[in-house]
């Protein structure tokens, strides 16, 4: 590992030192992220199969999403990954002020993403694009496959939004803990680091959702 501040402050007694503690914590996080890859992976697989079977319906349906809202949201998430990386950096370098500010900034950008997503869902619902009895797509005659696209769209972006909601909660909790704690900031560095791994993972999921859902040619 790179030079983490290797004082043995706040290392639980069952670890030899801070380095071993970090290895254990980060391995646990990467295992969790591998399970998350499979969680989202099932949906991505379903998307690939149904898109291959109904290319025209998916292309027609994709045109009815708000591409620019999706693009703005992508920019917001990419920026939030940057601020998250800066928060981890600040926490490791024991800079409490910067860490708290970057955590709050990350949470704020996450909240902005969710707000835009909510507006988008509202507009979609307004156009009767929510699958179910009220679904209407006058621009396509057999609507079943178009509905399939919107079903996948709502489940995939919905599951992603739930992850974002959890992430925003984690960032706010960490910011509160960091600003109230009397211990040195770097005693929270591992927690901030692991929250960062989760946040970046959720960003990566969106990096694939955006072209697949919004840029269907």
């Amino acid at each position: 590992m790179t030079e983490l501040p290797c004082d043995n402050l706040n290392v639980p007694h069952h670890f030899d030192d801070a380095g071993q503690h970090y290895d254990a914590v980060s391995l646990g996080m990467w295992i969790f992220l591998a399970t998350e890859v499979m969680f989202f992976g099932g949906l991505f697989t379903a998307y690939i199969i149904y898109r291959m079977r109904n290319p025209e319906a998916f292309a027609a349906a994709g045109h009815h999403l708000y591409m620019w809202l999706g693009a703005v949201n992508t920019a917001i998430l990419l920026t939030s990954s940057w601020t998250m990386a800066l928060a981890v950096h600040a926490a490791k370098h024991d800079d409490r002020r910067a860490a708290v500010r970057k955590l709050l900034l990350t949470a704020g950008l996450g909240a902005l993403f969710l707000l835009i997503k909510a507006v988008e869902y509202y507009l979609d619902a307004h156009e009767h694009l929510v699958p179910g009895a009220t679904f209407r797509a006058s621009w396509s005659q057999p609507t079943a496959n178009v509905q399939l696209f919107f079903f996948l769209y709502f489940v995939m972006t919905g599951l992603h939004a739930v992850h974002m909601l959890v992430g925003v909660g984690v960032m706010l909790t960490l910011a509160a803990r960091a600003s109230m704690s009397r211990k040195p900031m770097r005693s929270l560095a591992n927690a901030v680091d692991m929250a960062g791994l989760y946040w970046h993972f959720v960003d990566i999921v969106w990096i694939f959702l955006f072209p697949l859902l919004y840029l269907v040619a």
Binding site: M1, T2, E3, D23, S26, L27, W30, I31, L33, A34, T35, E36, V37, M38, G41, G42, F44, T45, I48, I49, M52, R53, M67, A71, T74, A75, L78, T79, S81, W82, M84, A85, L86, H89, H93, G196, L197, H200, F201, D203, I204, I207, F208, F210, P211, L212, L215, A217
Partner: protein, 97 residues
Amino acid sequence: MPQDMTNPNAKALSIYRNVAALLGLLLIATIVARWMPLGRLNLIVALAIACAKATLVAVYFMHLRQASRVNRVFATVGILWLAILIALTLVDYAQRG
């Protein structure tokens, strides 16, 4: 790299800034590519850009570059299992006709 050796702090921060800028450029590229008449290549271009973005985030923001070997194995294995899932499902559907 040489001029920054005295200040690893500034070096790390400038790497983050450059990665963020690169991610922004890739986002613009993926939107521009949407209007290019590439036919079926459009999807491949969009996915290639997405893979590049994901790799940048994983390697620099998630510190895979400095991660221990075990962690790198787990990161790779997650993608490998997903590849198996998708590949075998596609084979199954191809057989059904």
